[in-house]
Each structure stands twice: as structure tokens, then as C-alpha cells.
């Protein structure tokens, strides 16, 4: 029996006059990869930003495990273990790779820091080689690895990834998706936002389709892959 760890209900978000989310609901189950697919501008990033409290919903509820987190400030949400890897990676370019990783651990400062670093290096050996390099000098793929590695330093209990494949070469996309699956297999539930619908549905358990601020479809990932409407709109026929 699966167990809901995140529940979003009837979420509305506006940027001034633009209604980005118009009553979105979704759940994430423990242990699973849940993906949100949708075209550019559908509101995928806005949904993650609302969960992280970077934008304030005008209506709706966000529940995490047993608590209502709708009104919490961003740092409290991070403390609860909801870790968000934003679109465009947003690494601290002026700082070293090491400092980026330490900042990732900001909310979970503790004795096992070295242990967590080693675990990140085991997944991303290249980060260890570039530890003292300025993060801004990394390649796009390495920056994405740093962004995910930085998130892992926070001991995520729910990992949210916003378009991790954006702008990466195909072989790197496969590598990143492999790693996402691996992180999930270690027990971390994942909420994955992607425009690369095919890859996302391949590794996900459950999927949602977001269109201009509304959830239009939800099903198991396997069913969505077979769904003619989804194939037509998002998988190239």
C-alpha cells in the first residue's frame, strides 16, 4: 500500500495579472518517482516554486507528511527535507564546488558531513576532481551534477528536480536519468518536472500532465506512455 507524503490541493498562483496555476492538485507517494510533464509555460516550475515557498499561492493547500506547509518560509521547508533543484541549476558560480556542496548541507549541518560528501562523490566522481574549482567554470553537465549533488548534501526526504536534462547532450541526459533512478532506489521520493516526457515517463511510477495551469491527466507512467493523446502531444506521435 503506498503512502502519500506530499499533497497539493487546488493550488492557485498568480504573477500579477497572469494566472500561472489555476487549481492544481497532485500527490507524491513514498518511494516513488512522480513526474509532471507539460509544454513550456504550462506552470511546472511555478508549481515547484510554490511548494518551496518561493512564490505564494493565492489559494490552495500544500501538505507534507502530516503538516500544512502552505505558509512556511522557504528555509523551514528545506529543513523539513523538501529539496528543490531549480531550473537552470542555479549553482553559485563565484564559489568553489566544495563551497556549493557545503551550502547544500546548510540546513543539515552535522557530524556526518564527510560521509555525505563521500556519498556524493561516489555518484559524481567528477565533482571530487573539481572540488576547488570555481563552480562557474564547470561544463553544463557538471553544473547539473553539482546541483543534484548539492541537493543530496541536504539529506532530501523529497527531492524535486526541475528539468534536469535541459540543455544537456543526449548521453549526459541518459546518465542524469540513470542517477535519478539510482537516488530513488535508495529510498528518496522524487518529484520530477520535465519537457523530455519520454525519458521522464520511462523512469517514473506516476505522471501528471499540466496544461496552461491545470492538471489535465494523471495515470501510472506506463499507461501515460501508451495513452494516444499523450503520445500525440508530448511523445512525438
Amino acid at each position: 500500500m503506498s503512502e502519500t507524503i506530499l499533497e497539493v490541493r487546488d493550488l492557485h498562483v498568480a504573477y500579477g495579472a497572469i494566472q500561472a496555476l489555476k487549481g492544481v492538485s497532485l500527490t507524491v507517494q513514498r518511494g516513488e518517482i512522480t513526474t509532471i510533464i507539460g509544454a513550456n509555460g504550462a506552470g511546472k516550475s511555478t508549481l515547484l516554486r510554490a511548494i518551496s515557498a518561493l512564490v505564494r499561492p493565492t489559494r490552495g493547500v500544500i501538505r507534507y507528511e502530516t503538516s500544512d506547509i502552505t505558509r512556511l518560509p522557504p528555509h523551514r521547508i528545506v529543513q523539513m527535507g523538501i529539496i528543490h533543484v531549480p531550473e537552470g541549476r542555479r549553482i553559485f558560480a563565484e564559489m568553489s564546488v566544495y563551497e556549493n556542496l557545503l551550502l547544500g548541507a546548510y540546513s543539515q549541518w552535522g557530524r556526518d558531513l564527510d560521509e555525505r560528501l563521500e556519498r556524493v562523490f561516489a555518484i559524481f566522481p567528477r565533482l571530487k576532481e573539481r572540488l576547488n574549482q570555481r563552480a562557474g567554470t564547470l561544463s553544463g553537465g557538471e553544473q547539473q551534477m553539482l546541483a543534484i549533488g548539492r541537493a543530496l548534501m541536504a539529506r532530501p526526504r523529497l527531492l524535486m528536480l526541475d528539468e534536469p536534462s535541459l540543455g544537456l547532450a543526449p548521453f549526459l541526459v541518459r546518465e542524469i536519468f540513470q542517477i535519478i533512478r539510482q537516488i530513488n532506489q535508495q529510498g528518496v521520493p522524487i518529484l520530477l518536472v520535465e519537457q523530455n516526457a519520454h525519458m521522464a515517463l520511462e523512469i517514473a511510477h506516476r505522471g501528471y500532465v499540466l496544461e496552461t495551469g491545470r492538471m489535465v491527466l494523471t495515470d501510472t507512467a506506463a499507461n501515460l506512455l501508451r495513452n494516444p493523446a499523450v503520445r500525440e502531444a508530448y511523445l512525438g506521435g
Partner: protein
């Protein structure tokens, strides 16, 4: 100018430059995280000087024996603490409610805060200049005379700046500060409590300005008035822009540079009347030819 005059003015310039630098780092740190100029910062410096005068102008039941080293350390620490509290209050009461307001409104508020503090000092302590009743022995080094006070001030300022550099580069708070300055939303996603970092930045900047004010009153014997912070505040602001606003080592470099240039011009028989104009000429030149400052990167607006 004679060589010995130049050497003498160099020493004086480094001393006043160290004070500019102590104030300038506060401007630059606050700008780094909030993209605003805290124009009340010069008044914090003035309050630090007032605390030093208050501490030395009466007996305080012998608790602070102001002629002893321990007493002076205690006095400067008190000035820093008072200014730190003031800095936190300014942020909480004046700037935090305007976090999402247009920049012009924040700017006007900052200038208003500056006038408010000047006038509060005027009401509470009057307009007559107040001098700390301490004198410092002068030693001759070659042809240069340096007061022991100047020497202590210089060493203390440099130590403060080294301490700040350690804090910013090596501690988790310093990393959080740099993270907020680089990308405050990404910093929030790391769990950095934005508001606490802002308050902490104001507190540190104010404490350093307070130390600068107290040390100027104690070691240089400069007379303290309600407008005591105005000129140093403006010059420290120029120093911060000169070094590259937002850049801490830049602020230190800018402060020392401005101090030295001013002293050299001030020591020149015909140029000396223009001493105070230097800062403004430099400001205009920097804004025209190198708006990012000496150590700053190309200016990038944050979205």
C-alpha cells in the same frame, strides 16, 4: 613636496583610509545582499564615536578606567555592541517593511534615517564638539612622527578587516552571506534564512563602523558632533564604489587609496584646499570610466 612630507602624509593617509575602509565594508556588504545604499551608515559611525566620548568623559564609578588598555578595549567593544543593536534596529524598523518596495522609496528612507539619527544626536547631546580627553605620545620614525594612538588604530583596523575576511570566507554564515548576495532565491533553496542573514550583515557592518567611530574619537581625538559621520560616510561610500560596490576587498582597497590620495593632496601647499573635493572627482571618474570599480566584475543587474 619634500620626501619626508610625502612619507608623513602617506602614514596619515593610511590611517584615515583604514577608517574609510572600516565604514566602506558595511556599505558594500549591505549593497551585496540587498542592492541598496544604507545612507544611515555614516550616522552609525557617529554613534560609535559618541559612545566613546560618553565612556571617557565621566568616571562611571571607576568601572571603566579609560586610561587602561582593558578599559579602552571594553569601551570600543561597548561602542560596537551599541552600534550593532542600532544597525539591527534600522534594518528591522526602516528597511525590512520596504523589502518589496521600489528602490527610490528605500533610498529616500535611508536618507531620512540618516537625518533622523543626526537630529536625535543633536537633541540628546547638543551641537558643541566633544573631544575624548586622552592624548597619545608621539614617536619619531625617521623623519615621520606617528602617534601611538594612530598606530593602535591602524593595527586594530587591519585586524578587524582580517577578521571580517575570515568570517566571510571560512564560516557557514559567511558562505550564506555570499550565497544570498549571488542568488538569494538559490540561497533560500539551500535553507539559508534570508532575513537572518540580512540582519546579521547589518549587525556586522554597524559594529565595524561603530569601532571606526570609537577609535577615531579615542585615538585621533577628532571632535564629535551630530554631523561627525556625514563626510566619512560619503567618503566611505565613494571608497566602496571605487573598489567595486559589493566587493569587500575592493572596499578596503578603495578606502586606503582614497585616504592616501586625500592626504597627499592635503599635504600639498597649493592643492590642499581641494582635499575634500577629491572624493567626488574620483566618484565621477569611476562612474564614467569604470563603473564596476577597481576589483568589481562587470555590473550585472539581478532579476
Amino acid at each position: 613636496m619634500e620626501l619626508s612630507t610625502i612619507a608623513q602624509q602617506l602614514v596619515n593617509g593610511i590611517q584615515s583610509g583604514a577608517i574609510y575602509a572600516l565604514i566602506a565594508v558595511g556599505y558594500t556588504m549591505v549593497y551585496g545582499i540587498l542592492r541598496m545604499i544604507n545612507f544611515a551608515h555614516g550616522e552609525v559611525y557617529m554613534v560609535g564615536a559618541l559612545v566613546a566620548w560618553l565612556g571617557t568623559s565621566r568616571d562611571w564609578y571607576g568601572v571603566v578606567s579609560h586610561s587602561s588598555t582593558g578599559g579602552l578595549v571594553l569601551l570600543i567593544a561597548t561602542a560596537m555592541l551599541v552600534c550593532m543593536t542600532l544597525g539591527v534596529l534600522i534594518e528591522r524598523l526602516a528597511y525590512r517593511p520596504l523589502r518589496h518596495a521600489p528602490r527610490l522609496i528605500v533610498l529616500i528612507t535611508a536618507i531620512g534615517m540618516s537625518f533622523l539619527l543626526q537630529n536625535l544626536a543633536l537633541i540628546l547631546f547638543g551641537a558643541d564638539p566633544k573631544t575624548v580627553p586622552l592624548t597619545w605620545r608621539t614617536v619619531q620614525l625617521g623623519g615621520i612622527s606617528v602617534s601611538l594612538g594612530q598606530l593602535v588604530l591602524l593595527i586594530a583596523s587591519l585586524s578587524f578587516m582580517a577578521g571580517l575576511q575570515l568570517l566571510v570566507k571560512r564560516t557557514q554564515f559567511g558562505r550564506a552571506m555570499r550565497a544570498v548576495s549571488e542568488d538569494f532565491q538559490a540561497a533560500a533553496l539551500m535553507g539559508v534564512p534570508y532575513d537572518r542573514v540580512i540582519v546579521g550583515t547589518f549587525a556586522i557592518g554597524a559594529a565595524l563602523a561603530g569601532a571606526g567611530g570609537a577609535m577615531t574619537a579615542i585615538f585621533v581625538g577628532a571632535p564629535v558632533t551630530p554631523t561627525f559621520g556625514f563626510m566619512p560616510g560619503v567618503k566611505a561610500f565613494v571608497s566602496a564604489v571605487l573598489g567595486g560596490i559589493g566587493n569587500i576587498p575592493g572596499a578596503v582597497l578603495g578606502g586606503l587609496l582614497l585616504g592616501v590620495i586625500e592626504a597627499l593632496v592635503g599635504g600639498h601647499p597649493t592643492l590642499s584646499p581641494f582635499r575634500d573635493a577629491i572624493a567626488f572627482c574620483l566618484l565621477i571618474a569611476v562612474l564614467l570610466f569604470r563603473p564596476a570599480g577597481l576589483l568589481g566584475r562587470a555590473v550585472q543587474e539581478k532579476v
